[in-house]
Amino acid sequence: MAALTSGAPAAGSTDPAPAGPPAPPRVGADRARRAGRVALRVGAVLLRRALVLAALLAVVFAAVEILPGDAATASAERGDSAAAIAARREHLGLDRPLWERFTDWMTALPTGDLGTSARGEKVADLLRDPFPNTLALAGAAFALTIAASLALGCLAAARPGRRTDRVIGHTATTAFAIPDFVLATGLVLVLSLWTGWLPAVTVADASGKPAEWTMMIMPVLALAVPQTGWNTRIVRGALADQAGAPHVEAARLDGLSTTRVLLRHALPGALPVIATGIATSTGMLLGGAVVVETLFNYPGIGTVLAGAVAGRDTTLIAGSVALAGAAITLVLLAADLVRAKTAGAGR
């Protein structure tokens, strides 16, 4: 277990560590073999996630390629001659064979080079300032989602079948169904325009970050509430599955308090399912952030992408997909590790 934690990259997993039994003293050789096995497993997980990310990038590149137009024609001024467009194409390197460009794009990605936008600017430069802002927004919403869905799920599971359980269940179902931009509109109307508590529009300061933290409250809420709805149901379901497990049953029959049974006996077993469920929310949060940002005028990639759609700038969108895919991969990796750790602790 110790080897696994030290070998794992700190990929932002905020889940509480499962309360495993204290490790019994082991012989050195056994421990070394164990550590080797764990390292192998972590390596395999890392490799698999990296391959999956590469596959996504290949699909995105192919999607960009089957486009009717390319960056040269998309950025051409009205009245440009065919020769001028051909020159631009050569300048952007679009006349080279497909395979060569794909290899170049893929090998350049790890160095932080995301290619060139239709207007001839570096995609990495266009996304450098807004992407961290989007990550901050989605990250805050992610943290809130984890905390709220764990709390609500446990609260419901502590009173199975009672009114609290039913109310939380129905509220979660309802919250999950509301699209985030609809929720955002409602929040603006109530919290900003009618009561005047929060600023309706995000104003960026000189460094391009939101000027005040209160400007993040509504975007974060709009993103976190639907995802909390979904994940509360996952937490509740996973805890319900665990409630029937023999060791939980035994703990309950021993007369331990409900809270203790729930947190120390049922929750650790439910963590793998919960971690996987919450990790899949990352995509919804990042995608939702793009939409909510445009509504609040938040200085993230949403504004950049809206411009990219209007300007038919596919390289820019492909670059954003690559960044978002990498961020989601990290969270999924964290979920893999939570799962591996819980499985290891149970053995």
């Binding site: 995509g283 793009v290 596919t314």
Partner: protein
């Protein structure tokens, strides 16, 4: 052994049936109203009848929008296409996933391929995926959004069906059918799917809600329906600048989208969902 049903039995059964049907009622009412809406609208969707962002009353029930068009009429017109598209996407994704999910269980090799596809799809936020497809197919309009939503939705849905079908594949009657040499399709349709009714119904509800989310989000980003059209998501975006002058121009379509998703979700959701992957 079956016993003849007594009258108390049938009464209890009817009550049980009524209780099961109760969650369907709000969805049925709402869908009916939204689909019948265009016939009830007092005005056309593109004729200005009031001042810009006129407040409610004076001949326009919910006031006017940014061009002085009747919000109430546009609201009644704005749902049909959204509901139709969401239904189409939900049905297509559910049907494909039901077949592929069973295939994945019956043919482990195909199952592994589908698993990997889902792994890849999970890394692509649906909003970004739709932007990509909308750019790749600029003349596609609604159909580009529909295609993207179907393609992006299938991998998750296959996982849900496969997870539910896996225990069934080990059942004696499936093994017997396999021994008889029946085709995978025949086993899927005749042995597996009838036992997956609950999963498939819940899946359809979830996919419908997801489709409402995707279509309305795309419309909000101005991918799909274009300005003169009456569309709830488009109305929210167009009228946002006048939210203080006539809140109804934004509130009414917001409430409509939310109600559509919530009622359908309540109608089809099981108490505890299967994890998304």
């Amino acid at each position: 052994m079956s016993t003849p049903a007594t009258s108390t039995d049938t009464a209890a059964a009817r009550r049980r049936y009524a209780r099961r049907a109760l969650p369907l009622l709000p969805a049925a009412l709402f869908l009916g109203a939204a689909l019948a809406g265009p016939r009830l609208a007092p005005h056309t969707i593109d004729a200005p009848v009031t001042a810009t962002y006129a407040t409610a009353g004076d001949g326009a029930l919910l006031g006017g929008d940014q061009l002085g068009r009747d919000v109430w009429s546009r609201l009644l017109h704005g749902g049909g296409e959204l509901i139709g598209c969401a239904f189409l996407i939900g049905a297509a994704v559910t049907a494909t996933a039901a077949l592929l999910g069973c295939l994945a269980v019956l043919r482990p090799r195909a199952g592994r391929v589908l698993e990997r596809t889902a792994d890849v799809a999970i890394l692509l936020p649906s909003v970004l995926g739709i932007m990509l497809v909308a750019l790749a197919w600029p003349d596609g309009g609604r159909w580009a959004v529909i295609t993207a939503a179907i393609v992006l939705g299938i991998p998750f849905a296959v996982r849900v069906v496969a997870a539910a079908a896996a225990p069934l594949a080990a059942a004696g009657y499936v093994e017997a059918a396999l021994m008889r040499g029946e085709s995978s399709l025949s086993i899927t349709v005749r042995e597996l799917l009838p036992n997956l009714r609950g999963t498939v119904t819940a899946l359809f509800g979830l996919r419908f809600v997801e489709a409402v989310y995707i279509i309305s989000t795309a419309a909000f980003l101005q991918i799909g329906p274009q300005p003169p059209e009456a569309d709830w998501a488009l109305m929210i975006r167009e009228n946002a600048p006048g939210i203080l002058l006539n809140p109804w121009a934004v509130l009414a379509p917001s409430a409509a989208v939310a109600l559509l998703a919530i009622t359908v979700n309540l109608a089809t959701s099981a108490p505890a969902p299967a994890p998304r992957r």
